[in-house]
């Protein structure tokens, strides 16, 4: 019933460790419930059985060494079992498997954002994109105060401390998007220091690495990717002046252009592949879209280098419907700005899967 009402009851098990963790958690829960159950049953029994009755005098009982011994030893044994199991689990949590050292991430916490550096060179702010089934190690430090890098779905958490390195590892096992929290109070924006953990399947992760697969709810390409570089160029070259969504726009919006069929002046049709996109920039008069005036200027190598052109195309390929920035944006968003300029973003990222079944 609760699942139907979209209320999370249990946290997602999205990492290998989370499954192990929950076994111990429920073991302690079971023993605790049993212990509390015994105490409560005895309390209730005594309260009813020994409520004051006329003519019944209380007994004079001073204690019993046997019972004392019993209820010292039995809880102690259970507590020690928690301890031993807990140490084993802690051991697992702080000692990464060898393969995790092949994917070493670093994270820097600062008031109030997480900067994640991928081993592949990618950078992300308040987001971390991971591949399903691949163990990674993550090392953190802080630029200012204490923070804590916590991912509930992975049952992973470690304090991020200025002046020293702390680390954790995890092996995501479930595709999805999960919460990333700062768990150590760090000042005014503590509750804003949140983000998203994106676990992608192998092919999506590969696509993401190429800069095609978009994160951040499909608005922007990943920080540092070719598409991200391309977006900066797109804005710098003022492409948006014509390629926009305004009613008076003078050119197609380019959203979802890649691999679409384009009707050309003269009646022919082409598929908008990489070459078509390249031609449309270098030599726009070659193929002019039906219904539009041929006003697109040609961009030569002096204006756009080959490398830049690749990035630009990468960005165009990443554009899906609704992705194009609005025209009022005159300059690219500063590096590290968590919000996309044209979309009002709530302080808390909208949870996509966080626990909803």
């Amino acid at each position: 019933m609760f699942a139907f009402m979209n209320i999370p009851l249990l946290p997602e098990q999205a990492s290998e460790f989370s499954k192990e963790y929950d076994v111990l958690f429920w073991y302690i829960t079971g023993v605790s419930a049993l212990g509390a159950g015994v105490v409560y049953s005895l309390l209730i029994y005594c309260c009813f059985a020994f409520a004051k009755k006329d003519g019944v005098a209380p007994k004079r009982i001073l204690g019993s060494n046997r019972l004392e011994f019993l209820w010292t030893i039995i809880p102690l044994m259970f507590f020690l079992s928690f301890f031993v199991w807990g140490v084993r689990q802690y051991d697992v949590a702080i000692n990464p498997p060898p393969e995790a050292y092949d994917r070493e991430y670093t994270v820097v916490g600062k008031q109030w954002m997480w900067k994640v550096q991928h081993p592949t060179g990618h950078r992300e702010i308040n987001e971390i994109t991971l591949q399903e089934g691949v163990a990674v190690r993550i090392t953190g430090t802080s630029e200012d105060v204490l923070h804590d890098f916590g991912i509930p779905a992975f049952r992973s958490k470690f304090d991020v401390v200025p002046g020293r390195y702390t680390s954790a590892w995890f092996k995501p096992i479930k595709v999805g998007s999960y919460h990333l929290f700062c768990d150590q109070y760090c000042g005014q924006g503590h509750s804003q220091m949140v983000g998203k953990v994106q676990v992608l399947s192998q092919e999506n992760y590969a696509a993401w690495l190429e800069g095609i697969y978009r994160v951040r709810d499909g608005k922007n390409p990943a920080d540092g990717s070719p598409a991200w570089e391309g977006r900066k160029l797109f804005l710098k070259l003022q492409c948006l002046n014509c390629h926009n969504k305004e009613s008076e726009s003078r050119a197609p919006t380019l959203e979802a252009i890649h691999k679409s069929k384009r009707a050309l002046q003269g009646g022919s049709t082409v598929v908008a592949d990489d070459t078509y996109l390249r031609n449309s920039i270098r030599n726009p008069m070659k193929e002019v879209r039906d219904g539009w005036k041929p006003i697109m200027p040609a961009y030569t190598r002096a204006q756009v280098t080959e490398e830049e052109l690749l990035n630009l195309i990468s960005y165009l390929k990443s554009l899906k419907p609704g992705d194009l920035p609005s025209r009022t944006e005159s300059s690219p968003a500063p590096v590290g700005a968590p919000n996309v300029p044209d979309s009002p973003v709530s302080p808390i990222p909208a949870p996509t899967t966080g626990g909803a079944r």
Partner: protein, 591 residues
């Protein structure tokens, strides 16, 4: 009064719920007691009477409890919506910090030692006053001075560091009044130390004849253990706060790594005090529960020695577990292991106490007035608080639960469900002794039930949302957690109503309550063997004690046969009936 315990026939255990003019001194116009033997403001402000000082503490901590409660109300109300219902981010941070600092330093730590400790320690051991009455008054004023710094700090803009004051945020980044709050902590700490010193000296030197260590009420044992912790741990907090101030004011690098310091050092020092401090808060509460349970079950405490020594055990081992607050803070692996093991060990004495309390009820003749309801509530809630602590003391499970609402729920179950309920139990138990007036039976029971239900429902959802991962100190949170927060807040209002109720019926009892009589609950403690309210020097003459503290079975009809020399000795060993009973038992066990 000297031989009041000498002759069992004169032990006054008859119910005195109805006014009995010839017995009830309070109703008697000429009866001079500690409240009416002098009048005027100065007679209160300059008093060295431990009972009056206890009352001054009662008024002061109640005011601060109200402030702390208002801050809690703001926090909970703000959490009704995921983006914060009423407060800005900064305001929220200041509200939860105010709630934490006020409740801890100005309510939980002083409440039972300050009010009940002051009032009862001398009376329970048959003394006229504390060992150092003037020091006692001084410690009150020192505490007030410290508290004024907290008030000042709140009035000039508040504090936003959380009560834990972790640097480098507190030493460098926070723009709020860290120094005033630090001074407040520093000064109230001295008050703690002075009170503790006084209690230790009193227990050692002021016990009346016959009050051996084995006959001390368990409340005294608990207060003694608490005082030892206070004396040993509080100076460390003072040192830590001074270091923090030095770094903040002079820029000397102690905790800030940019200046060559180490933030983990602060955490070690802070928790070296603050972990034992949770036992400073809970041990006196446990002491109260011993007194109340035995009285309303009409029973000896089950396992006097086990309960007494478990207090001492908690006090000693409690000093060695501070690192369990820092499993994820970057401390060493083996260090974490040692702390986790010791944490499991410190859980044992608490478990022993819970089992002993339960066993105490067995074979009793139980009545359920308000103090008993609060005490039973204490056991129910403290049990949950205790077992959920195991999740956090276990290395593996702490990883996920660290700094989530699970922690919040856990320590509220021990601090509020435990200490707050013990405080209410104690307040209701000794109110007739303190004021000479009896409060409404119906309303007080109702308040106990409202508080219990409100409290339990406030914090149960927080265990769930904590396991889901909601971090503490978050004014904004993911929307799927909202339902839990709304439930929690709704119950918090019920709880709030519960806390307001005693103001009315206890207040009413002051003016229109029935005279309580000397011993309305027919309790055996020495404090009940004198008039209500007690005379300025507690006892007409020094009492003598001949047996242990909880001989309710004796009081309720078991015969004590004086020995040939006319004195009643320790009935545990010397009552002929019992001796023969015990001998019979031993014989059966032996075979």
């Amino acid at each position: 009064m000297a031989d009041i315990l000498l002759e069992p026939a004169r032990l006054d255990y008859t119910p005195q719920m109805l006014p009995e003019p010839e017995m009830s001194f309070a109703a008697h116009p000429e009866h001079k007691h500690y409240l009416n033997h002098e009048y005027g403001l100065l007679s209160w402000l300059l008093t060295v009477d431990h009972k009056r000082i206890g009352l001054m503490y009662l008024v002061s901590v109640s005011i601060f409890f109200m402030f702390g409660g208002i801050a809690a109300g703001l926090v909970r109300t703000n959490l009704i919506t995921p983006t914060g219902a009423i407060l800005e981010l900064d305001q929220y941070n200041k509200a939860f910090t105010a709630h934490g600092t006020i409740m801890l330093f100005l309510f939980l730590i002083p409440v039972i030692p300050g009010v009940l400790g002051n009032f009862l320690v001398p009376m329970m051991i048959g003394a006229k006053d504390m060992a150092f009455p003037k020091l006692n008054l001084a410690s009150y004023y020192v505490w007030v001075a410290g508290a004024l710094f907290f008030v000042w700090q709140l009035m000039v803009g508040g504090l936003d560091t959380g009560w834990t004051l972790y640097p480098p945020y507190s030493s460098k980044y926070s723009h709020t009044n860290v120094l005033y709050a630090g001074l407040g902590i520093f000064i109230t700490g001295f008050s703690s130390i002075l009170t503790a010193l006084n209690i230790i000296a009193t227990v050692h030197k002021m016990r009346c004849p016959g009050m051996t260590w084995g006959r001390l009420p368990l409340f005294i044992w608990a207060m003694y253990a608490t005082s030892v912790i206070q004396i040993l741990a509080t100076p460390v907090l003072a040192v830590t706060v001074v270091m923090l101030a030095v770094e903040r004011v002079a820029g000397v690098g102690i905790f800030d790594p940019n200046l060559g310091g180490d933030p983990i050092l602060f955490q070690h020092m802070f928790w070296f005090y603050s972990h034992p401090a949770v036992y400073i808060m809970i041990l006196p509460g446990m002491g109260v529960i011993n007194e109340v349970l035995t009285c309303f079950a009409r029973k000896n405490i089950f396992g006097y020695k086990a309960v007494a020594w478990s207090s001492v055990g908690i006090a000693v081992v409690g000093f060695l577990v501070w690192g369990h607050h820092m499993f994820l803070a970057g401390q060493g692996y083996y260090l974490a292991m040692v702390f986790a093991l010791l944490t499991m060990l410190v859980a044992v004495p608490s478990a022993i106490k819970v089992f002993n309390w339960t066993a105490t009820l067995y074979g009793g003749s139980i009545t359920f007035q308000a103090p008993m309801l609060f005490a039973l509530g204490f056991i129910v809630l403290f049990t949950i608080g205790g077992v959920t602590g195991l999740f956090l003391g276990t290395l593996g499970t702490d990883i996920h639960l660290h700094d989530t609402y699970f922690v919040i729920a856990h320590f509220h179950y021990t601090m509020v469900g435990g200490m707050m309920f013990a405080w209410q139990a104690g307040l209701h138990f000794w109110w007739p002794k303190i004021t000479g007036k009896m409060y409404s039976d119906f309303w007080s029971r109702l308040a106990a039930i409202v508080m219990l239900v409100g409290f339990a429902l406030t914090f149960l959802p927080q265990f769930a949302v904590g396991y889901l991962g909601m971090p503490r100190r978050y004014p904004n949170y993911p929307p799927e957690f909202q339902i839990y927060n709304v439930l929690s807040t709704a119950a918090a209002y019920v709880q709030g109503i519960g806390y307001l109720m005693p103001i009315f019926y206890l207040g009413y009892s002051l003016f229109a309550g029935k005279a309580a009589g000397n011993n309305p609950f027919r309790a055996t403690g020495l404090e009940w063997q004198t008039s209500s309210p007690p005379s300025p020097h507690n006892f007409e003459s020094t009492p003598e004690v001949y047996f242990g503290p909880y001989e309710y079975a004796v009081a309720d009809g078991l015969k004590i046969i004086p020995l040939n020399d006319g004195k009643v000795r320790d009935i545990v060993h010397e009552d002929p009936d019992l001796v023969s009973e015990n001998a019979a038992k031993e014989a059966t066990h032996g075979s």
